[in-house]
């Protein structure tokens, strides 16, 4: 295969990279109040990536660079969800970023970190996986730190330290797997690892998985998530809780499919899943700040996302379940963050008292977003929950499905802690009472995200059936 054909296979990724560079260059020549040009470049690059990924859907699966990078259903799903998520992040952050001193750099970092998530999902070689991890992580640290506030600096430092630690674990794991299998290519892993000792394979896999769980915001690499959600700017927080997850979860899925049966990884992943969803829920209960609440909620969502990974390759429904859940989760989570983006200074749940009276449509958008995160039909995450529950049970993990159902009920409690004040009348002493003057782009994104959440929930099944 020649380089030209390889490049064509990677067209969405190349568009993202070109967009990132162009946005950065444009930003260096633009006066501060005219940086909308680099925003337009970023949006155009993402829209191009969506179009190119969609066009590639109907084609056959392909691989590039001697099989180290794969384009198939899994990576196509990743490309689409990542690019649409990044678009939503830019629209919800427009008010916040407009005219900021680091505006173009923010778009560049968003594009690069999104590209990293895509590479993670498409990697079919352990070395490419490392490259994807770094590309997804390093821009993310910068994004979180861009807020230039004390809590932003703290969040960036925490994320960086954990990222460095888990990145080293990942590389260690890759080294061990390479030593055991004699190859870094996924296609050779199963055969190469088959005769190796289960203990060695287990050590290598656990280390690699730990690195990917950091990206997914799941146990054991979840500690940075609530801090990033709280300390970063709204757009960065929305990004950090959505896009890296897509890369991490899908990279783990692809790797697990190629693991030999000598290690009991399904049980390990199932336990991680149960632990993550439970821990995220328990920590979310007591939160009074909507950002931290969403931060912990995304940890618990990572737990549900791990359910189908425990049956990866064993159940036909597993892969569609992951993709459907990711798409639904991204739309719902970004819609909820867009509400926060519209009212960035309301840092208490009680500050939303009177919201429904003042802004009924945004309140309805919040209801749709949060009830979707709970998994109420006909929203997008319901479709995801239905499929991941079924997939896990079909693969024999009925107990995991039961734990997930219990966690779902528990999660309703803290999502309602945000909805209840929003639908109460404001009292004179409620914090930030009275006028809800939204930032227009973020408010529009909230409503659009809610519409998308419902559209995916109602029409997602038909779209899924229409795929080749």
């Amino acid at each position: 295969m020649d380089a030209g054909a390889d490049a064509l296979v990677l067209l969405p990724e190349i568009l993202m990279l070109a967009g990132a560079i162009a946005a950065l260059l444009a930003g260096s020549f633009l006066p501060r109040e005219r940086q909308w040009v680099s925003r337009a470049i970023g949006v155009a690059a993402l829209a191009g990536a969506v179009a190119a990924s969609a066009a590639a859907l109907s084609g056959p699966g392909a691989s590039a660079y001697s099989g180290s990078y794969v384009v198939d259903a899994l990576s196509s799903g990743a490309r689409l969800v990542v690019a649409v998520s990044a678009l939503l992040v830019i629209t919800l952050g427009t008010d916040e970023l407009r005219g900021a001193e680091r505006e173009s750099e923010t778009y560049t970092l968003i594009l690069l970190a999104s590209l990293g998530a895509m590479v993670l999902a498409g990697a079919a070689d352990l070395l490419v996986l490392i490259a994807g991890f770094l590309l997804a992580s390093i821009p993310l640290y910068a994004l979180i730190g861009l807020a230039r506030t004390p809590s932003g600096a703290e969040a960036a430092l925490k994320t960086y330290l954990q990222g460095a630690f888990f990145g080293i674990l990942l590389m260690l794991g890759v080294t061990v797997l390479y030593a055991a299998a004699g190859t870094t290519s996924y296609s050779g892993l199963r055969a190469g690892l088959g005769p190796a000792s289960g203990a060695i394979v287990g050590v290598g896999l656990v280390c690699v998985l730990a690195g990917l769980m950091f990206k997914a915001g799941a146990v054991p690499g979840h500690f940075w998530v609530p801090d990033a959600a709280e300390g970063a700017g709204t757009a960065a927080a929305a990004f950090a809780t959505t896009v890296p997850k897509i890369g991490g979860i899908l990279a783990a899925y692809r790797l697990l499919e190629h693991m030999p049966p000598t290690v009991a990884w399904p049980l390990l992943v199932a336990l991680l899943s149960a632990l993550t969803m439970t821990l995220g829920n328990l920590a979310a209960f007591a939160q009074k700040n909507p950002r931290r609440l969403l931060g912990w909620s995304t940890v618990s969502q990572a737990g549900y996302l791990l359910m189908p990974l425990s049956v990866a390759g064993a159940v036909p429904l597993a892969l569609p379940a992951v993709l459907v859940y990711l798409a639904g989760y991204a739309a719902s989570n970004l819609a909820a963050f867009a509400v926060i983006g519209a009212y960035p200074r309301r840092n208490l749940l009680t500050a939303y008292e009177g919201f429904a009276t003042a802004r009924p449509w945004q309140a309805v958008a919040l209801v749709v977003a949060l009830l979707s995160l709970v998994g109420t039909p006909p929203t997008a995450v319901f479709l995801g929950k239905l499929t991941v529950f079924t997939a896990a049970w079909d693969g024999g993990f009925w107990w995991l499905t039961a734990i997930a159902a219990a966690n779902t009920v528990a999660s309703l409690f803290y999502y309602l802690r945000w909805l209840a004040p929003a639908f109460r009348a404001a009292s004179p002493d409620s914090p930030g009472a009275g006028d809800f003057n939204p930032r227009p782009w973020a408010a529009g994104t909230a409503v659009a995200g809610a519409v998308l959440t419902l559209a995916v929930g109602i029409g997602g099944g038909l779209a899924w059936a229409g795929l080749p």
Binding site: P377, L386, W393, V409, F413, G461, L462, A465
Partner: protein, 495 residues
């Protein structure tokens, strides 16, 4: 689009129209609500008129549209003798609510929209022939009712609404687990109810007992039966009157309807195995509900507990249907159970609307705060007395038809069910005591000068009671629709 889908979608469209018109205080909302409710009653009447018995296990007005083909779920609706009475009941109850709330001043726009939304979900649930579609309407009804209690209730409404939401949502998740079990137990995997009927999933598989357990717990929470009933009294006490009427009249039936639509026909073997437990639950619900109701001094809580008792009769009859014994007796029991669903909706709906009259005038439901109310409010006293007698099962009302069949059938199939008979006596006692305390004796407390029934209140509650009398005196048209479906259900359960 069939007439049945129109019945589901039309209230949704009306709700959207109310919201989009931005009418927060205007009179437009009540016109749209009432107009849509009348239209729904007319559609139900047309469905009823055009309904011919389609044969055992067949559906009328069937429609199937692709929805999530990859997991074997579709938008599949249809009507049979078990669902048609409940769809009609839904239309009638919501019309009564529209009339009762005609003069409502508190944010009538969103309120009307929520009620219309609830009407759509209720009719959708009774028409659903797909487990995922059933679950969708089941959950949305919870969401709608949460907002009605939280937004328009009184007292400790936020807490009651939260308790209601969490508790019934827990039930819905148990239900979902059961549905996934049914899906995985069928080959090929499907959520379609008629297909599952043909597949008979988990037959001879002990997992069927667990799957039915999940379904039963989910439905028992919604019904509710003892020991899952604790969400009901606070929800009722703090809900607005029309919210209570819908909750008791329609939403509780979603649980009992789930038994006859899903649990019994799809898992008959497991149902028969569960029969002893269910009979016990039924007996305890009947007796406990009645006894606790007897101990209440709050009128609304009392009516709420009589609901636990009345739902207990239904569980009892459905459990008896799995207990073996003669085919005819079990058919009678099931017919009685379905009739009781309709009857309870009419009578308890009326009772809650009438209880709301007290609260709107005096701000309390405490029976001790009134006395001799028959003097200042004779019409109200008459209406309430009629409703109370209907609820305690006096002949001439629908309740008698239902409960007579329930006991005749149940005792014929499983003599142990006779243990629940004292429930009837206790209910009679508690209603008579309530009438005595509130309406007779000297005029005292908040009674003096209490305004009598207004036309909207009289027409709404009175209309429901007239229908109860109609069913009580001329039960044949209703029974003719229910009986063939009951016969089919009993033959499905077998044993």
């Amino acid at each position: 689009m069939t007439l049945l889908s129109l019945a589901i979608l039309f209230p949704l469209a009306a709700a959207a129209a109310v919201l989009l018109s931005g009418s927060r205080g205007g009179g437009l909302a009540r016109f749209v609500f009432a107009g849509a409710a009348v239209a729904e009653v007319l559609i139900a009447a047309v469905l009823w008129a055009g309904y011919g018995d389609t044969g055992p296990g067949r559906l009328a007005y069937e429609e199937q549209v692709r929805w999530i083909p990859n997991v074997g779920s579709s938008y599949h609706v249809g009507v049979d003798g078990l669902s048609l009475p409940l769809i009609t009941l839904t239309a009638v109850i919501f019309l009564a609510c529209a009339v009762y709330d005609w003069g409502a001043k508190d944010r009538p726009g969103p309120r009307a929209a929520l009620f219309l939304f609830l009407e759509a979900t209720s009719i959708g649930l009774f028409a659903a022939q797909d487990l995922i579609l059933f679950f969708l309407f089941f959950d949305l009804s919870i969401v709608g009712m949460y907002f009605i209690i939280a937004g328009w209730g009184h007292g400790d409404r936020a807490r009651s609404a939260l308790k209601f939401f969490l508790y019934t949502f827990l039930g819905s998740l148990a239900l979902l687990l059961g549905f996934i079990g049914l899906y995985l137990g069928a080959a090929p995997h499907t959520f379609d109810i008629p297909e599952l009927l043909r597949a008979q999933p988990l037959r001879g598989n002990p997992a069927g007992l667990w799957v039915l357990g999940a379904v039963v717990v989910g439905l028992a929470i919604k019904t509710p039966t003892v020991p899952f009933h604790t969400w009901l009294p606070p929800a009722h006490t703090d809900a607005p009157s029309t919210g209570s009427a819908v909750l008791a009249g329609i939403l509780l039936k979603m649980g009992t309807y789930g038994f006859v639509r899903i649990a019994m026909p799809l898992l008959p073997e497991a149902w028969r195995a569960w029969t002893p437990v269910l009979i016990a639950v039924g007996v305890v619900s009947v007796l406990y509900g009645a006894l606790v109701a007897l101990a209440q001094s709050d009128l609304k809580r009392m009516i709420a507990y009589t609901s636990v008792n009345h739902m207990g009769y239904i569980i009892l009859a459905l459990a008896a249907a799995g207990a073996g014994g003669s085919q005819a007796a079990r058919e009678t029991a099931v017919t009685g159970a379905v009739t009781q669903m309709v009857s309870h909706g009419l009578i308890t709906g009326a009772l809650f609307l009438l209880a709301g009259v007290l609260h709107s005038r005096a701000g309390t439901y405490d029976m001790g705060a009134f006395g001799g109310l028959g003097g200042p409010a004779p019409r109200y006293a008459a209406f309430f007395a009629v409703a109370a007698f209907a609820s305690l099962g006096l002949p001439g009302f629908s309740g008698f038809i239902a409960e007579f069949q329930i006991f005749a059938g149940s005792i014929g199939a499983a003599p142990l069910t006779a243990l629940a008979l004292p429930g009837i006596l206790i209910t009679a006692a508690l209603f008579l005591r309530a009438l005595q305390r509130v309406f007779t004796g000297e005029v005292r407390g908040k009674s003096p000068g209490l305004a009598d029934l207004r036309p909207a209140e009289a027409f709404s509650a009175g209309g429901l009671l007239v229908l109860s009398v109609l069913v009580g005196l001329l039960p044949v048209p209703l029974l003719d629709i229910i009986a063939p479906a009951s016969a089919w259900l009993v033959s499905q359960v077998g044993g």
